[in-house]
Amino acid sequence: MAEMELKSVRKAYGRVEVLRDIDLTIGDGEFVVLVGPSGCGKSTLLRMIAGLEPITGGEFSIGGRCMNDVAPRDRDIAMVFQSYALYPHMSVERNMGFSMEIRREPTARRKGPVAEAAKTLGLDRLLDRFPKALSGGQRQRVAMGRAIVRDPKAFLFDEPLSNLDAALRVEMRLEIARLHQRLGSTMVYVTHDQVEAMTLADRIVVLNAGDIQQVGTPLDLYERPENLFVAQFIGSPNMNVMDAAPGQGGLILGSGAVLAGPEDARHVGIRPEHIEIVEGGGDVTAEAQVVERLGSDTNIYTEVKDIGPLLVRVSGNIALSPGDKVHLRFPPGKVHFFDAGGRAIRAARDKVQ
């Protein structure tokens, strides 16, 4: 069993608190992604799980056994580092088999698992090379191979793809997804890239400034963000947020437009891909300023008088040039409402739906 449990785990450096009361259960075989802006404490949390960073308070257990004071070597985990951390003085083969070397497995017995891992990762021809003779993608694979050979209860990934170029990143992302399907091991993955988070995770943990903001499946976070932070952090491009005030007939936006919604809502959010361009009427009128044509989609950066910038994304290509006036409609079911403190007003929104 590799169920991990964090019970009000804290981390502080002297008086500076970097993580507060983290409660989280990671199921056996689950793929959990920790995501958040830089400095939110996600890497620290992962390093505490790995045992590289002492836990200031609270309890962390794997399979019911308390791990607070257990050395990394005895936690039965493997970790893939952002820098890959390959041993420069060892060949690929020795790098991958290093954990078995430490366990004093005979050389002959090391060959099998290393060769097998190398084969699945397409490294079989590179076993005699040294890390400095490998490309970035190959180094990344070796780091993963080393983790696989370790045969751990759980895999930890610390921003493993952030040093790769865009194409390789997509390829390695698939590789990691396949690895998880094949091994079915528990995996904890840290990233600041929300696309990685959305595509890989069974569940995502969004962290900000040392607190967990929301835990849920990727679609949960996309469709039902619990607060403004999650709403704006998840989804690309970012959600548009407008200020609102209660008034006659519902909520009044800056431009005077009236929207149906709960009266304690102070912020209204809508994702760019949910805004509709209509011939006439609509909720607001905007002026297109920049039009980005991506082929599959078109991003229109608009300016709405007395509201501010609003990003609209439509599928396919539409005829529109900067300076054109467009009418925008916010479909009622797609609008998110937040109170003054930024918390989502869920029930009200469902009522509208």
Binding site: A50, G51, L52, A71, P72, R73, R75, I77, A78, M79, F81, Q82, S83, A85, Y87, P88, H89, F98, S99, I102, R103, R146, R150
Partner: protein, 280 residues
């Protein structure tokens, strides 16, 4: 831009001239040392200040090696310098590792302590050390020299080793610990092999420093058997100040180990000097 291109030949001729000046300045004294050492004794006065020796002989070297005490001095110096270098490097490696990898209470004070030892005049402690060594009955022993030299070189060697450890990513150790190593295993299997060049450089720096130390050796050693090379050569100079050829031959011999170690540590000179080399 055009002006610069036109000036280029003049500039570059001047540059090569300047380079030639520096090379000549650096090498001439050493060349002269070698030249006199190779001149036969009977020709020293007649050849005197000519740039090239008219005849070359190895007699002076032969005499110095086989008919004088220099081989003994040389041996003493090798023992002292090698032991000092080995002991210092080990102790400094441990201390440098602690500086590089741990944040702990009191670290600042240790750093201050080590910097302090680099600032005050070492000659201040020559009398106390003489008294202490004498009261321990350790005058004229190579051991006392080794202990003193080791302590003198530790601060600089520690900073040097720290800079080498700082160059090794912490991730590597952590990866090793996750792969199942204890901290000590990680040190031995991952960190140590990667610091070997740094360790060798430290060894070289400390050896060079110990090899050339004179004043404390003069103070602590006066028996012929325990003399290090500098002390022996200086005694030789003041006793037989006319034997130019032999003295210079001895000098050339003293130069050999330093030059060997210099080649060895050349690549690390910048790192060594910026961490505050003992021997500046």
């Amino acid at each position: 831009m055009a002006a610069r291109t036109r000036n280029a030949p003049v500039l570059s001729a001047g540059k090569y001239l300047a380079v030639a000046f520096y090379v000549a300045f650096a090498l001439f004294p050493l060349y002269w040392l070698l030249k006199i050492a190779l001149t036969p004794e009977r020709l020293i006065y007649s050849d005197g200040t000519a740039l090239w020796p008219s005849t070359v002989t190895l007699d002076n070297f032969r005499t110095v090696i086989f008919a004088s005490d220099f081989l003994g001095y040389f041996g003493n110096s090798v023992i002292v310098s090698l032991t000092t270098a080995a002991a210092t490097s080990m102790i400094a490696a441990a201390a440098g590792y602690a500086f590089s990898r741990f944040a702990f209470r009191g670290k600042r004070w240790v750093v201050v302590l080590m910097l302090l030892t680099q600032m005050f005049p070492l000659l201040m402690i020559i009398a106390p050390i003489y008294k202490i060594v004498a009261s321990l009955g350790m005058l004229n022993s190579l051991t006392s020299l080794i202990v003193v030299y080791t302590a003198f070189n530790i601060p600089f060697a520690t900073f040097l080793m720290q800079s080498f450890f700082d160059g090794i990513p912490k991730d590597l150790e952590e990866a090793a610990m996750i792969d199942g190593c204890t901290r000590f295993q990680a040190l031995r299997k991952v960190i140590l092999p990667l610091t070997l060049p740094g360790l060798a450089a430290t060894l070289g720096f400390v050896f060079t420093a110990a090899w050339s130390e004179l004043l404390f050796a003069l103070m602590l050693i006066n028996s012929n058997d325990a003399m290090t090379f500098p002390v022996g050569l200086l005694t030789f100079v003041s006793k037989f100040s006319v034997d130019w050829g032999q003295m210079m031959a001895a000098g050339v011999l003293a130069l050999i180990p330093s030059c060997l170690f210099f080649l060895f540590i050349q690549r690390y000179l910048v790192q060594g000097l910026t961490s505050g080399a003992v021997k500046g």
